[in-house]
């Protein structure tokens, strides 16, 4: 609690650290869930292609697992940021709002990503022809 190297991010506060870990988990999970399907399309439309893209597509069977993990992270993250009653230890830690902007941004970004991944089957037929100019 006396660690003041990085006051802004408050690394010593266990709740804040946890929230960042959860947010990072959400981001990684959302990226993993979009690797199989969204990433190849974006890469291809940017002109990046190669036989290795097939490896990304091979992740498709694991997509539901990644989605579930991500939703778990996000649910817990949102609960921590917006819902959790703050335990005030001597009015010190709760003086600063727990969710910093980084965590909130990460949560919302991964939410958007996971929603796109979830509804990709409906989004792709609309987006793909536009991106690829078909």
């Amino acid at each position: 609690m006396t660690d003041t190297i990085d006051v802004d991010l408050n690394p010593s506060d266990p709740d804040s650290r946890k929230a960042r870990m959860i947010a990072a988990g959400g981001i990684l999970g959302a990226l993993a869930a979009s690797t199989c399907c969204i990433v190849p399309l974006i890469l291809f439309s940017l002109g990046v292609s190669g036989a290795w893209i097939g490896n990304l597509t091979a992740l498709e069977p694991y997509k539901p697992i990644f989605i579930v993990i991500t939703l778990g992270f996000l649910g817990y993250g949102y609960w921590m940021v917006y819902r959790k009653p703050k335990a005030c230890a001597e009015g010190e830690t709760c003086a600063r709002p727990l969710p910093n902007r980084l965590v909130k941004t990460a949560l919302w970004a991964s939410t958007i990503l996971i929603v796109i991944a979830l509804f990709w089957n409906w989004i792709a037929p609309v987006v793909a022809p536009i991106l690829l100019g078909l």
Binding site: F44, T57, P129, L134
Partner: protein
Amino acid sequence: MKLHTSVLALIGFMAAAPVFAAEQTVTFSVPGMTCASCPYIVESAMSGVDGVVTVNADADTRTALVIFDDAITNADDIAFASTSAGYEAVILEPKS
């Protein structure tokens, strides 16, 4: 007389044209086409080959139906284009 021969030549040319520029239909098996956006990538990759007229990729059957001008390209080149984009394509049934 002169007109006659040129008209004859024209008719002969029109009759012979389909033989020179034969459109071939080939079905490819693309097993990696598992996701919603995959067929679009396959279509785009295959359409990029000169001589390809239409590509119809279907994610449900994991196949791509390609109509191309066999005077300009061939099925192997089209399969290679898809493979190098990350979606291995194998020739299933060539029809003439």
